[in-house]
């Protein structure tokens, strides 16, 4: 029998039992829509996280106080809340002399009650030097940032994150106004564009950024840094810069045995690869769940096809009587299940795509997140392929049952 006839007959078989075909397809539609939706969510989550890491700046190397002895997956001591005083100004000065580093941005952090007039809120303040803003890719919405000159002369100036500016000033212009942190008055010189969550999980939009000198001496009473962010030159790989930084700080700290390091270095690539791994596992996990529903849909197909073979036993007998071979009957039923799953797959892709668009609009327009729309072509291709394969795999057994029937027994079937 020609493929043209097989397909035409299978289409007729599907068309003549519309409700049964629809119900059979439903399992596959749900399965494929889940695969599309969950793969898309996984990809979007990955893109959001990676965008956030990339948004911190470009070509960055982070020097953290305290050592982490094991793999890149273990968190550094400083991020576990342990106070370590090993990173100091001398380290930053030594690093600024290195040719492969174009900018050095040390920082300290603390929490304080911030007051403007009768408004107050508790927020993070970050003490930084002038280059910090460009290294971290901050964009000024209003006013300006501060300079190294102001840092060195202990000027009490502050740059506000976008959210805290709204909290303290509402709709009023904050520029030139005085705010108080731990009873120290600061003049607001700038407001930043929204930036989201930064390294260490700090909500940068709710932070107040002040000169590092003032933060260390007047607010915190410390002489060490919590973090030094370095911007590597584009001419060098981050791995090279990382090794240079290790040498410079070991020399500065008089460390000869690398096992005794009292600091740790992370590059943006480390963070991206770690987050990439985590989100890939998440995507894989979500997709696996979706595939389970696809298997359930496939078993549904097999079940309905078996019922269809029994119901159409006399038809099978008749077809064999007029010359159909076992192969012809096998093809006919296999095409039917493949058409059901293929069409189910296409509908599932459309439903999954629509749900993905719906979720995007809900998260972006209603919940106001930085959600990224992602409908990977690979997911669509995979879904179409897998749905067709499901039809083949789960349709094979019923089709073989149909093909094996003896013509005379099939014709006698009541």
């Amino acid at each position: 029998m020609r493929a043209y006839d097989s397909i035409r007959m299978a289409v007729a078989g599907v068309r003549h039992a519309k409700m049964r075909s629809f119900l059979t397809m439903l399992g596959i539609v749900i399965g494929i829509a889940s695969v599309i939706l969950l793969m898309s969510i996984g990809n979007s989550a990955q893109a959001v996280i990676i965008n956030q890491v990339k948004g911190i700046g470009s070509n960055l190397v982070f020097v953290l106080p305290g050592a982490s002895k094991s793999s890149k997956f273990s968190s550094p001591a400083a991020s576990q809340g342990i106070i370590i005083k090993t990173l100091v100004k001398e380290d930053a000065d030594a690093l600024s002399r290195e040719a492969s580093i174009v900018a050095v941005a040390p920082e300290v952090r603390g929490q304080a009650k911030i007051v403007y007039g009768s408004n107050d809120t508790t927020a993070t303040f970050i003490g930084v030097t002038g280059p910090y803003f460009s290294v971290r890719d901050f964009v000024v919405a209003e006013g300006r940032t501060f300079t190294d000159g102001e840092v060195n002369s202990y000027e009490r100036v502050a740059v506000l994150g976008s959210e805290i500016a709204k909290t303290l000033f509402g709709g009023y212009d904050p520029l030139g106004k005085m705010i108080r942190l731990k009873d120290v008055a600061f003049r607001v010189v700038g407001v930043l564009e929204p930036k989201g969550v930064g390294p260490g999980g700090i909500d940068q939009d709710n932070a107040v950024i002040i000169p590092i000198t003032v933060a260390q001496k007047q607010l915190l009473g410390i002489d060490y840094y919590n973090l030094i962010t370095l911007q590597a030159s584009d001419s060098y790989t981050s791995e090279f810069v990382k090794q240079r930084v290790f040498s410079i700080i070991r020399e500065s700290h008089h460390i000869t045995n690398p096992d005794k390091d009292d600091f740790d270095i992370r590059t943006q690539e480390d963070a991206l690869s770690l987050l990439g791994n985590i989100t890939s596992i998440l995507t894989l996990f979500l997709t696996s769940i979706a595939f389970i529903s696809l298997v359930v849909g496939g078993i549904g197909i097999m079940n309905i096809m078996l019922v269809s073979v029994i119901e159409r036993t006399r038809e099978i007998g008749l077809r064999k009587a007029v010359g159909a071979t076992n192969g012809d009957i096998l093809q006919q039923f296999l095409w039917e299940s493949v058409i059901l799953t293929f069409v189910g797959g296409l509908v599932g892709i459309m439903v999954g795509g629509l749900l993905t668009v719906g979720i995007y609009f809900i998260l972006v327009d209603i919940v106001k997140t930085n959600w990224v729309f992602s409908l990977p072509v690979s997911a669509i291709g995979l879904a179409a392929g897998v749905s067709t394969l499901t039809g083949l795999v789960f349709g094979l057994y019923p089709a073989r049952q149909a093909a094996k029937k003896s013509p005379i027994e099939a014709l006698r079937y009541e």
Binding site: H16, R314, A321, G323, A324, P407, I408
Partner: protein, 237 residues
């Protein structure tokens, strides 16, 4: 055309063995119109199934157009059923939700000899030959019993087979429709088709020119039918 030598058919069911045909031998020549009669359970339908390749004998030899059926594979038998045999069943066996056209065209789908572009012409000709050209695109399930059987005859004729097997073709029809069906079979015989008819109605058997009588799985008698009525008009008086 057909030669049976000592054909036996035995059915095994839950350890119990039933002999349906016990050493049946006869020959049928091309162009004959043979009626097979016998009481219920005599083995006449089993014999027709073996003759029409729907079943295989347990023992004995069956030669069809020179082929020993014992040497044919299931695939060979399917091809011969498609190209050289036509079937008419008591219960019509039409696909009720398919059109007359689709039902009649069915054997052509399994044929490698007929190009797709010739199908429409062949189907129209076959349907016209049974007088149903007006119903070509009607669902088969919506036809009357007599019309259904005429569609089944058109389906049997579509591949221009040498032999047509008819199993109680008038069994489910009123006398008028039955007469129409037998008239068509009579015409086909006149045109040179070999017709093998299983029936329990003497009136229907009288259309044949030879009567094989089966009893208890054995050949009871095999004799020519002496036609008292010589013309078609006389049959349908």
């Amino acid at each position: 055309m057909i030669k049976l030598v000592g054909i036996e058919k035995r059915y095994e069911d839950e350890g119990e063995s039933t002999l349906a045909l016990a050493g049946v031998s006869f020959e049928i020549k091309k162009g004959e119109f043979v009626a097979i009669m016998g009481p219920s359970g005599s083995g006449k339908s089993t014999l027709l199934h073996i003759l029409s390749f729907l079943d295989r004998p347990t023992s004995g030899e069956y030669f069809f157009n020179g082929h020993n059926v014992n040497d044919l594979t299931d695939l060979d038998m399917a091809h011969i059923r498609n190209s050289e045999m036509g079937f008419i069943f008591q219960s019509f066996n039409l696909l009720s939700r398919h059109t007359v056209f689709e039902n009649v065209a069915m054997p052509l789908m399994y044929s490698h000899d007929v190009p797709i572009e010739r199908r429409k012409h062949l189907v129209e000709r076959a349907v016209a030959s049974v007088g149903l050209e007006e119903k070509l695109y009607m669902e088969a399930g919506k036809l009357s019993g007599g019309q259904k059987q005429r569609v089944a005859i058109a389906r049997a004729l579509i591949g221009n087979p040498g032999v047509i097997f008819a199993d109680e073709p008038t069994g489910n029809l009123d006398s008028k429709s039955g007469a129409q069906v037998m008239s068509i079979l009579h015409d086909l015989h006149e045109k040179g088709h070999t017709i093998i008819l299983v029936t329990h109605e003497t009136y229907t058997a009288e259309f044949a020119n030879r009567l094989i009588h089966i009893k208890d799985g054995r050949l009871d008698s095999d004799r020519p039918i002496v036609k008292a009525r010589h013309s078609k008009a006389e049959f349908f008086k």
